[in-house]
Amino acid sequence: MPALEHILVVNAILFAIGAMGVLTRRNAVLILLSVELMLNAVSLNMVAFAVYGHVDFGNITGIVFAFFIIVIAAAEVALALGIVVRTFRNRATANVDEVNLLKW
């Protein structure tokens, strides 16, 4: 088994990569993908904690949470893509920086 720190560091990098994607991309679908990367990093973290903590604490909550995260991610993707499609239909773009009505 790899050490917990290693897994956590890998997850942190994955999370930061996801964040980077969210910040640098402008296409809504790509941003969604990056968000999914971040979610994956988080649930991987939870699973790692749960697995490593299982012996000492008998607690597998993290695994259940990872399960929930995956399920909710499915719902979120469905909704987000619905929004993207709708936005595209209304504004003929899927770029989030062209959707700028949220300002003064």
């Binding site: 088994m1 790899p2 050490a3 917990l4 720190e5 290693h6 897994i7 956590l8 890998v10 942190a12 990098i13 994955l14 999370f15 930061a16 990569i17 996801g18 964040a19 980077m20 994607g21 910040l23 640098t24 991309r25 402008r26 296409n27 679908v29 790509l30 993908l33 999914e36 990367l37 994956n40 991987l44 699973v47 790692a48 697995v51 490593y52 299982h54 012996v55 000492d56 597998i60 909550t61 695994i63 259940v64 990872a66 399960f67 929930f68 995956i70 399920v71 909710i72 991610a73 499915a74 719902a75 993707v77 469905a78 909704l79 893509l81 619905g82 709708r86 595209f88 239909r89 920086d97």
Partner: protein, 172 residues
Amino acid sequence: MEDGVTATQVVFWILAVVMLVSAIGVITAGNIVYAALFFIAALAGVAGIYLILTVEFIALVQLLIYGSAVVILILFALMLTRARERPQALFGRSRPLGIAAALGLMAALIGGIVATTWTTPESSSAIQPVGLQTIGDAIFTIWIVPFIIVGVLLSIALDGAIMLASPDEDDN
């Protein structure tokens, strides 16, 4: 197994590298479909790490839901928004800032992880695989209410997605 590098660790690092490289591919690919394909690779890497962590269930759920359903949805969305026909810059204006911020985040996270003393089992062989039955028991006893709520949430979200994506009365 006590010291040195075990086969599991080697596999882990291979998977981690694959995963991270794919993730970088997701955020740098010049083509949206490539990004989606890289995303699948990254997901496969994550699933592999789940396997290494002995939670096959989560790994398979990950593949089942992300690998097929989510990716298919994303590809659908790409096709519906005609990503290919309208080539355009995929990066926003604030790209350097975003990279810097994300790197700062990464530094903060890694610094925190490295600086923390983690309480882990003495030897890695002490880690027990978490059985499917354990997970099932947890989900259907302790977490039954969240489980039901998640189910309802999923139905509602899918209905909402259908409502969102379905054409208006006057669209045609």
